[in-house]
Symmetry: C2
Subunit: 140 residues, 2 copies
DNA sequence: TATTGTTATACTCTATAACTATA
DNA sequence: TATAGTTATAGAGTATAACAATA
């Protein structure tokens, strides 16, 4: 599959990571619907952290058009999960923050996604440590 | 973020893998549009391999409804990338195969996704080997 | 004049329910 | 009667272009 790679090891590692991503892509809809969310809404909630975030920055992090964020936020806001507030410094900007309900739902989402890592218990403790160390360096 | 985990190492490794998946989710649309594909079409092309695949099995692998696969395949077929054929054993079943054009596009997609693994060169050769070994066991 | 976010529009993705053909 | 795939329908995700408010 990896034709004439400069670095076969790196190429295979990348393929395996992509395979993991596609498997996550397949499993996210079911997980999301448990919380009555869509995959895109999960992605947004995963990104929005403690500090409020401008809409435009959110579009950048999601790598999608700003008009798309408008619609996503419309639906989350209509459910009382997020809140738009005009920025004090630049009144064109609207910053997004989680409501208390939104924070609870986000916490539930994170907990649901990270609880009981399905297959990781197959790995030895040493391999688990190695995986953490390597992924940290990779995602830094 | 990982509240009262039984296994902190496994939990953190899982979080890092999920973070990687979300970053891939953000970068896939741009990569896909280079080949005039959607992310969902990339997912389907990534799954369909050398041997023809029944539509229903494809729905299972994509974790989506069969009616959704109908639409996805309609669009791919109208571009001459895939082909429906009735199964000989069970005439209700339609198996999907890549056309020569589809095979070329799939190869281009895989090549584009796996070429120049962006940040993997940060890792030492030993860490690259360890990552391959660990992910293989994980995704088995 | 440039930028942030919204609106209008169009198309794709996705699920549900009803349907057809086959088993 | 049950199953594989399609069709009809509706809603969500997505981008492009035009627009309003602000810088």
């Amino acid at each position: 599959m990896c034709a004439r790679p400069r670095n076969p090891q790196a190429c295979e590692a990348w393929q395996l990571l992509l395979q993991f991503s596609f498997s996550q892509r397949a499993s996210l809809p079911a997980l999301a619907s448990e919380l009555e969310l869509s995959p895109a809404q999960c992605h947004l909630l995963n990104l929005i952290a403690d500090q409020p975030m401008p809409m435009g920055q959110l579009a950048g992090s999601l790598s999608c058009d700003a008009s798309n964020v408008t619609g996503l936020v419309d639906r989350l806001e209509s459910r009382g999960l997020v809140q738009r507030s005009p920025s004090a410094e630049d009144r064109r900007v609207k910053v997004l923050s989680l409501t208390p309900t939104g924070e609870r739902l986000r916490a539930a989402l994170i907990a649901r996604m990270t609880s009981e890592p399905p297959t990781l218990t197959r790995l030895s403790p040493a391999d688990q440590r190695a995986l953490v160390r390597i992924l940290r360096r990779l995602l830094d």
